[in-house]
């Protein structure tokens, strides 16, 4: 069989037109293979990447009527929303504090301590948000008053529409 191949190759070397044909078929095969690779590869790569780099838009979550928030008294709101985790839809429960000093301007704080994320709560007697984990404290403006928290309480984007307070959350 080796002789046959050698003789075929030998004949090919002698015959210029055959060399051209072989080259054409060889390059043609390579080109078509590359075409297949690109045609199949690009959609598959896009599919693999999926929504990895897609920015999440977030959504407005209704907290409640602004009348519920009295001046100088942080009000805890809890609300749930559906969060998308790939194919899963999970319920996420948000707890936030809404604060107003004058009944006009509102601030919505995340109730997660900026140290390690434990939930803070408003203590009326101490007039502070207190963190139960490492004894952190924040005043009504969210500023750190004691403990290891590295920064003030996170302020969340919010809006008031027709007397209702909304906060922007990620997901779903």
């Amino acid at each position: 069989m080796g002789d046959i191949r050698e003789s075929a190759a030998g004949k090919a070397e002698e015959d210029l037109s055959l060399i051209t044909r072989r080259r054409f078929l060889g390059y043609g095969s390579g080109l078509l293979s590359a075409l297949i690779g690109i045609a199949l590869g690009l959609p598959l790569v896009r599919f693999y990447v999926g929504d990895t780099f897609k920015e999440r838009e977030g959504r407005w979550l209704r907290l409640g009527a602004i009348e519920e928030v009295t001046a100088g008294q942080p009000k805890l709101f809890r609300a749930s929303h559906v969060d998308r985790d790939g194919w899963r839809q999970t319920a996420r429960r948000e707890s936030v504090y809404a604060v107003t000093q004058d009944g006009k301007d509102y601030v919505v704080f995340s109730n997660a301590c900026t140290h390690l994320g434990c939930p803070v709560h408003w203590d009326d007697s101490a007039q502070s948000f207190l963190c139960p984990c490492h004894n952190g404290g924040f005043n009504i403006r969210g500023e750190v008053t004691k403990g290891p928290a590295p920064r003030p309480l996170d302020r969340l984007e919010h809006k008031v529409e027709e007397g209702t307070l909304y906060v922007k959350v990620m997901g779903g």
Binding site: S29, F47, H81, W87
Partner: protein, 707 residues
């Protein structure tokens, strides 16, 4: 540069030399386009591998998540529908190519000596490919997948005596469920592909070793054939061209005919009629020809023995057929037999595809009725033999129905079932449409199908809503986290059913206790009620002290709200039949003689009396009315008659001269009575009038004096 790298690799591994030698196989004269099918099948397997591996990036083999992840792939991921479509159709393409490759090998006599084992491996490759298709079919976990697997695995149970053991072995238990899915997944993504790759490598290696069969040459006349071309590039180029065409075709089919997902697998959907995939249709159809008198042995013969013998025949074929001729006309018996067998398979397949499950042919009226059925969105609650909503009764299994009953239910669902939440057909529906709808609904039986496009366009539900008992359990989910429901549903969504049937919590005594819930957990109320719902009662209809004065006008406007609490005959307790015997028609003219203690048994005398005596007086009856009324009464007699009878005037004007004549001061003693309730005191205050002249000498009016 590339050459250097290749040379270095070759020095280290001799891989390049190996590949070169492998690819430069001399090909016999006549080998060419008819020999591309093996490579084409292999190419499609590579496509299946690539798409399959990437689908695994997102797919989850669990009944809780399989459908959701498949749906996520199809509907939400970029190009997900395309990749799933490529994999779905690629399976069929690959099987078709394998079959064509086998047919080509058969008619070219390629199974003959010395290539018998290549053929045998080819048959095994066909079986593994079918196994891959069968196991992959279940993975999306939709209705079609589930029920096809139920039927497919049940066929294995046709083996007498041990059938149910075999079925259980396939399923991982008595039923198709989570364990079936995981073992099918393992078979599909690991075991079968590994076996297939191993067999394919052996298959190709054997082909390379023994060479591609020289067309039409006798078995003992191969050595003399000329071999003018090499596998690379001559045959590789042809393979590449075919692969490009196949890929283009596959893309076109995947785009034009996306791999639909039906509803999530529902083992309780008894009305669903499963259909096998096309490659199992001949076997499926064969079972119809087995005489029923043969019982389970007949089913065993049709389902397992005949296909098993066919496969066995294919495996031993190279060893049975020792005819050295390859030209089909020189081996007429086997060629005609093969064509006949192929004809039988095609006939069975085509008749299987045509026969299908019994499918109702709708009359023109039923077709119009079906359109009304869909326009009214009846299908969002009521399925038809497994397709459609799950909330209502599936209309297929229990049909057909009496048209009269159907018409009655459609007009007034609560007439049949008082707790029904089904809305009646809208009053705006024309008589013709209604008749068409009745004709359609009453005819629905097990042969009816929900239109495919309707099933495909069903709204995507979150995973929790696809659980079998979701409808029954949603009330508990609402209680767990009411604000979550509000993220997708408006209150009107709840009201669409609950206006007809109150939630369980709102049954007896609810009004008495609702305030506590509303105060402590308003989010519960807000799930189903709009924000101003409370005001609809609490603004206008609160039963405050002045309610009796207000209730007439309020009840006129908000009669429906009254009936939220009061039964319709509640009004009659005052306004009708339950009045005491004393309250005859002329009671209002006699009531002033009633004992206040008796009145207070039913009436809050403080408010009830003032409703007429103060609050309800017309504006004209001001403090100076008595002096003003004569002139008004003369000109507006009719106006007075709105409230007063003529006796009312006589009660004063009948016994006393009014206005008092000039000599009244001399005469009044004879006419005036000093008893309490005297007509004098309707106009005059005792202290101011009598004592003005009589001073303290005037005796007090006797309180017990008769009127």
């Amino acid at each position: 540069m590339v050459g250097k790298i290749l040379r270095w690799i070759d020095e280290q591994t001799e891989l390049v030399t190996f590949v070169k030698e492998f690819m430069e196989e001399p090909l016999a004269k006549g080998v060419g386009w008819p020999h591309v099918f093996g490579s084409a099948a292999m190419f499609l397997f590579v496509v299946q591998l690539c798409t399959g591996v990437l689908l695994m990036v997102y797919y989850v083999p669990s009944p809780d998540a399989a459908y959701e992840s498949a749906s996520f792939i199809s509907r939400e991921l970029p190009l997900g529908g395309l990749v799933r479509g490529l994999h779905h159709w690629g399976a069929s393409f690959m099987l078709i190519l394998v079959i064509i490759h086998m047919l080509q090998a058969f008619f070219w006599g390629a199974y003959k000596k010395p290539r018998q084992i290549i053929w045998v491996i080819g048959v095994l490759l066909l079986l593994v490919t079918m196994g891959l298709s069968f196991t992959g079919y279940l993975l999306p976990w939709d209705q079609k997948a589930y029920w096809a697997t139920v039927v497919g695995t049940r066929i294995a149970g046709s083996v007498p005596m041990v059938g149910h053991y075999i079925t259980a072995l396939f399923r991982g238990g008595p039923d198709v469920g989570a364990l079936t899915l995981t073992r099918f997944f393992a078979l599909h993504v690991l075991i079968f592909p590994a076996v297939l790759i191993g067999l394919m490598v052996f298959h190709v290696a054997q082909v390379r070793k023994k060479g591609i069969t020289p067309p039409w040459r006798r078995v003992d006349d191969e050595d003399s054939v000329s071999r003018p071309t090499l596998f690379y590039p001559d045959q590789v180029f042809k393979d590449a061209v075919v692969s490009v065409l196949l890929l283009g075709l596959l893309f076109a089919v995947a785009v034009l005919y996306p791999a639909h997902l039906e509803a999530k697998a529902n083992p309780a959907a008894i009305g669903y009629v499963p259909r096998p995939e096309w490659y199992f249709l001949p076997n499926f159809e064969l079972l119809k020809y087995v005489p029923t008198a043969w019982g389970e042995w007949g089913e065993f013969a049709g389902a397992a023995v005949v296909p098993g013998l066919a496969v066995l025949f294919l495996i031993v074929l190279p060893y049975l057929d020792r005819n050295p001729e390859r030209l089909p006309r020189r081996r007429p018996l086997i060629s005609v037999g093969a064509v006949a067998a192929l004809g039988v398979l095609l006939y069975l397949g085509i008749s299987g595809a045509k026969s299908g499950p019994p499918h109702a042919q709708l009359t023109p009226q039923q077709q119009r009725g079906q359109k009304v059925f869909l326009d009214l969105r009846c299908h969002s609650c009521h399925g038809i033999n497994g397709g459609g909503g799950l909330e209502g009764q599936d209309l297929g299994p229990d049909g057909p129905r009496q048209p009269d009953t159907v018409a009655k239910v459609l007009r007034s669902p609560t007439a049949i079932n008082p707790r029904s939440i089904m809305p009646p057909v809208p009053a705006s529906l024309t008589k013709t449409d209604f008749q068409d709808l009745v004709a359609f609904v009453s005819a629905i039986d097990t042969t009816f199908r929900m239109p495919t496009e309707v099933i495909a366009s069903q709204p995507h539900r979150p995973s929790s809503h696809q659980e079998e008992n979701w409808f029954a359990n949603h009330k508990y989910e609402v209680r767990k986290d009411p604000t979550l429901c509000g993220q997708c549903h408006e209150p009107t969504f709840c009201q669409s059913c609950h206006l007809k049937r109150r939630p369980d919590s709102h049954e007896k005594e609810w009004l008495k206790s609702h305030f506590g819930t509303a105060q402590e957990r308003p989010e519960y109320c807000q799930v189903c009620h709009e924000e101003n719902y409370c005001n609809s009662c609490h603004d206008r209809l609160m039963h405050t002290e002045d309610w009796m004065q207000r209730h007439s006008s309020a009840s006129e406007v908000d009669r429906e709200m009254c009936q939220e609490c009061h039964k319709p005959d509640f009004c009659i307790t005052c306004h009708g039949g339950t009045k005491p015997a004393s309250h005859t028609k002329d009671w209002v003219y006699r009531h002033q003689g009633a004992q206040a203690a008796e009145c207070s048994e039913c009436h809050n005398t403080k408010t009830f009396c003032t409703a007429c005596h103060e609050g309800a007086r017309p504006e004209s009856h001001k403090a100076d009315w008595l002096t003003q009324h004569p002139s008004r009464a003369e000109s507006k007699t009719k106006e007075c008659a709105t409230c007063h009878r003529t006796e009312f005037c006589s009660s004063c004007h009948g016994g006393i001269d009014l206005p008092h004549p000039p000599d009244w001061m001399l005469e009044h003693k004879a006419q005036a009575s000093f008893a309490a309730g005297s007509v004098c005191f309707r106009c005059h205050e005792y202290n101011e009038t009598c004592n003005k002249c009589h001073g303290a000498e005037m005796p007090e009016p006797a309180s017990d004096t008769p009127h």
